[in-house]
Symmetry: C2
Subunit: 279 residues, 2 copies
């Protein structure tokens, strides 16, 4: 089975590494020739191409690891092997999938996916198959999907190291992602940008500030695209957060330790549940 | 030199572990006899006591690892060896130190400290000297401190694994801590409490949400005390955060990608600076 990974950045690079030794014929596409050379030297790809047109015509599976708008452009300008499976790693789905399905040929099976694993650093040099181990993976099912394609995708991502894939609609995906991923990024950016810089902050940090701002080292073009194309759900998550934040702020202002302690206990309980292994 | 650590929870337990093998005679005080037995079995203390009165009279250094209000009560009810050094690990200083200095005998050298290392879990079982390695440590100097006591404290904490200690006033300490530590806790609690729980969240999280909520597993009594006794600075940090959060929210509402990208770039730059080694 021939698999082509398009875009060997931190995510695509992790894919080709995770695919190593699984018995597939893996090819890579990237605009950067040095990246292709490195991936070949690492034994992760058989060959690398800066132009994808010929290789995707021969590929049984194409994994497009580009930004949302670039994926749409790629689909619009490339012809895939009939009967082949095409997938993406895009972090927003309702807006994106509607456009993607209009562009993709009917003889291609498009299975949209979201690997919930990443790193704040960019580029192949930071790629690592380790980020996939026990990470969550979401498959976004749509009406044209064949049952066997979804089943194949579930098996495929579990081979890569992910936990059991969850299948959901684009709308449910975008709602939960606006909370678990996007809101966290809004907070991390706001927190670090709110530093008055009166002191040399790094001399006075513990793990808490470092943990909360890790993802503030943000890829600005990508996240701008992700936020603006999931506005409705993101603003809903932002409002929910603001309500709790205001409640805690008011409790501090009013010396209302009962409310504070109730909020802390609820938070501690929820955080412990998050660590529990799921079935 | 005889050192007594009072309170063998996660912080005090880490102290007795870090003190092992440094040549001091280390004793432990805790209300829990099993904890004392365990610390003795681990070879971290020579002997453990549930009552501190006799041992602190003989100790050249007493490290009190209790909550702020408990430290004040401990100082008020115990007599320390004349000329000995007494220190604490309390996370707020201006309110606290004013009271502590009124209670402590003039023939004792009180050097207030803040090890910026901790864990969200409680109790001796979670103690580990590893949390001190390369962590920040702040010494809060006051007018009665002798120069040699401050110098001793700097050397002492570097023996335990901390980076070079920073010396600052109680007010500067409380201002910077309200930002680097307390605000992060307010955010983490608000974030996890804002979960609508419509979905089974843990199935759809990546590292970002887990990182941002790690400290939401909060010790409710301790943090209630810390927040309420540092209200002025904490509310200032909360307001600074809200300003940036509102700015980003407005940019999302108005499709203002220029503002978003400017905020993201500033955040990424600051986060990279945070990772740079300081001199």
């Amino acid at each position: 089975m021939v698999i082509t990974v398009v875009g060997l950045g931190v995510v695509g690079g992790s894919y080709v590494q995770a695919l190593q030794g699984l018995g597939y014929d893996v090819y890579g596409v990237d605009l950067n020739e040095d990246t292709l050379k490195q991936a070949k030297a690492d034994g992760c790809i058989i060959e690398g191409y800066t132009d994808a047109h010929e290789i995707v015509k021969k590929s049984d599976m194409t994994i497009i690891c580009l930004y949302p708008s670039q994926v749409l452009e790629f689909i619009a300008t490339h012809e895939f092997k009939p009967g082949s499976l095409v997938t993406d790693v895009v972090g927003i789905k309702s807006y994106f999938l509607e456009k993607a399905l209009k562009l993709i040929s009917d003889d291609v099976e498009y299975v949209s996916g979201h690997p919930m694993a990443g790193k704040e650093s960019r580029g192949y040099a930071y790629a690592s198959k380790d980020v996939f181990i026990d990470a969550n993976y979401i498959i976004i099912e749509h009406e044209k999907n064949k049952k066997e394609s979804i089943e194949f995708m579930c098996q495929f991502v579990s081979q890569l190291g992910f936990k059991t894939a969850r299948i959901m609609s684009p709308y449910d995906h975008d709602e939960i992602i606006s909370f678990t991923s996007q809101l966290s990024h809004v907070i991390a950016v706001s927190l670090i940008d709110s530093d008055t810089q009166k002191f040399d902050t790094k001399k006075y940090t513990g793990d808490s500030y470092r943990d909360l701002t890790r993802i503030a080292n943000i890829n600005e073009e990508l996240w701008c695209e992700l936020f603006l194309n999931n506005k409705k759900f993101l603003l809903q998550s932002i409002n929910n957060f603001e309500n709790q934040f205001d409640k805690l702020k008011d409790a501090i202002i009013n010396d209302d330790s009962d409310t504070m302690i109730a909020m802390f206990k609820e938070a501690a309980k929820r955080r412990e549940q998050l660590e529990q292994k799921d079935e």
